[in-house]
């Protein structure tokens, strides 16, 4: 729970979760509904909404968690079509690909990356302050994107 809240702060998300419904299973965090809470046994493989995992003391958020953050207040950038596609392919984001910025513009902060339909594609780290950057400069480094679903299956 602490790891999730710490990550929420890093992406500027104003967020609350009912700790009673969160289950940690071998470092993987799941948010269960009340029905699942009643019947799920300790040895489940997957349950409810997967929130992310802690590995080597580092938290790796799930895309479900990122999508939850994206629904509320958080550091977000909205990117144009081509930049969105390149981001899903694991690439960085250039200043010219950004249509809107919400929340922090500071170097080092985390930011959710949204497409033109405001759907969360993943998140990145601000590599260069968004205000002063030239259009052809990389400003957000890709940390995690939904293309990962394909990469996992290889």
């Amino acid at each position: 729970m602490k790891a999730i809240m710490k990550f929420a702060v890093q992406v500027g998300a104003k967020f609350s979760l009912n700790a009673d419904l969160i289950v940690n299973r071998a470092g993987r965090y799941f948010l269960l509904n009340k029905d699942l809470m009643k019947v799920s046994r300790k040895n489940f493989y997957y349950a409810g909404t997967y929130l992310g995992k802690v590995k080597n003391r580092k938290f790796f958020p799930s895309f479900n968690l990122l999508a939850m953050f994206a629904e509320g207040e958080a550091n977000k950038i909205v990117v144009e079509k081509r930049a969105a596609w390149l981001f899903i392919c694991g690439r960085e984001i250039f200043r010219k690909g950004i249509l809107e910025v919400h929340g922090s513009r500071r170097k080092g902060d985390h930011v959710l990356v949204l497409n033109e339909f405001r759907e969360c594609l993943g998140f990145g780290r601000i590599f260069r302050g968004l205000d002063g950057a030239a259009m052809d400069e990389v400003v957000v480094k890709n940390v995690s994107d939904i293309g990962d679903f394909l990469r996992r299956e290889i």
Binding site: L36, N43, Y46, W85
Partner: protein, 296 residues
């Protein structure tokens, strides 16, 4: 007892003349995730042409695509799943899924689990089982990609489901089966009648356990993608006679199930099941069952 000639002659005796067919690729929209969005238009704008499958509410055939439909942003966001059109039928046969406790007895890789969750509007609870860990990883990915929140997954043999000590309102047994030639071009070289009979035995064991965990007013849907009657009508006939189950009428695509198989007459209610010979879809068999009054 194997080979193309052996099996195609069997199909002919069952009333279907063999045709070498290739089923059309299909997708299924995840309605819960695309609320208010026009997915058809979005796919069209990126060069994917789709056409509604006439016998499915949310199924579409992929007519043309410049690239794999498994690599679009819309797919990765969980707006649709790639699911063969006949395989989309079993989950739609349940009545009133919202808020129910559902068992998906042989769940991986999760196409039907996600479909059930979508039909349930992510309400109630699904217990999804599979015995192969590698397949469970694919199931978990599918659930995460499609933002499913009402499912618990166990690495458990469906023949041991009573260990969970839960009664289910709805049970889907999409049984492990011999498959069919339309989705496996080496099928005729791979399969023998002995395999078919072994699978039929396993399916009966799963059915027995599933029936024991079904609520009195519950519904059980059994399906396979096998064309072999041992895994389909003969198993259902056995379930009617030994498990206290009855076959319910269903209104869905497909021919009526066979009531006579290689000279043996089966329970007349078998015609309520559905047999789909390969064509635009793959081969498939579906049967909906409930508990009979006397056995309650």
């Amino acid at each position: 007892m194997s080979g193309k000639k052996f099996f195609t002659e069997r199909y002919e005796r069952l009333g279907w003349k063999f045709e070498d067919v290739k089923p059309r690729q299909a997708i299924r929209l995840n309605v819960t995730n695309i609320k208010g969005k026009s997915l058809e238009k979005r796919l069209e704008s990126i060069g994917v042409q789709i056409e509604k499958v006439p016998f499915l509410e949310t199924g579409y055939w992929v007519c043309d695509s410049k690239f794999s439909v498994g690599a679009t942003a819309e797919y990765l966001l969980g707006f649709y799943s790639i699911q063969e059109s006949a395989a989309q039928l079993p989950a739609t046969l349940f009545t009133d899924l919202k808020g129910k406790t559902v068992l998906d007895a042989c769940a991986a890789p999760g196409g039907k689990t996600v479909q059930l969750a979508d039909l349930m509007g992510n309400s109630g609870m699904i217990v999804a089982l599979d015995i192969k860990k590698r397949r469970l990883a694919a199931l978990a990915n599918h659930l995460e990609r499609c933002h499913i929140g009402n499912t618990v997954v166990y690495e458990l043999d469906a023949r041991q489901v009573s260990r969970l000590k839960t009664k289910f309102d709805r049970i889907l047994v999409d049984a492990p089966c011999s498959g069919n030639f339309s989705t496996d071009r080496h099928w005729f070289n791979r399969r023998t009648l002995k395999d078919v009979k072994q699978n039929a035995k396993l399916q009966r064991a799963i059915l027995t356990e599933a029936a024991a965990c079904l609520c009195d007013e519950g519904e059980l849907v059994y399906s396979t993608c096998s064309l072999e009657p041992e895994e389909n009508e003969l198993n259902m006939d056995w379930a009617v006679k030994h498990l206290g189950l009855q076959i319910e009428e269903v209104d869905c695509y497909g021919e009526n199930g066979l009531t006579k198989v290689f000279g043996s007459r089966l329970d007349s209610s078998m015609e309520r099941s559905k047999r789909i010979w390969p064509g635009e879809t793959q081969g498939f068999f579906i049967c909906k069952l409930t508990k009979t009054e006397g056995k309650r």
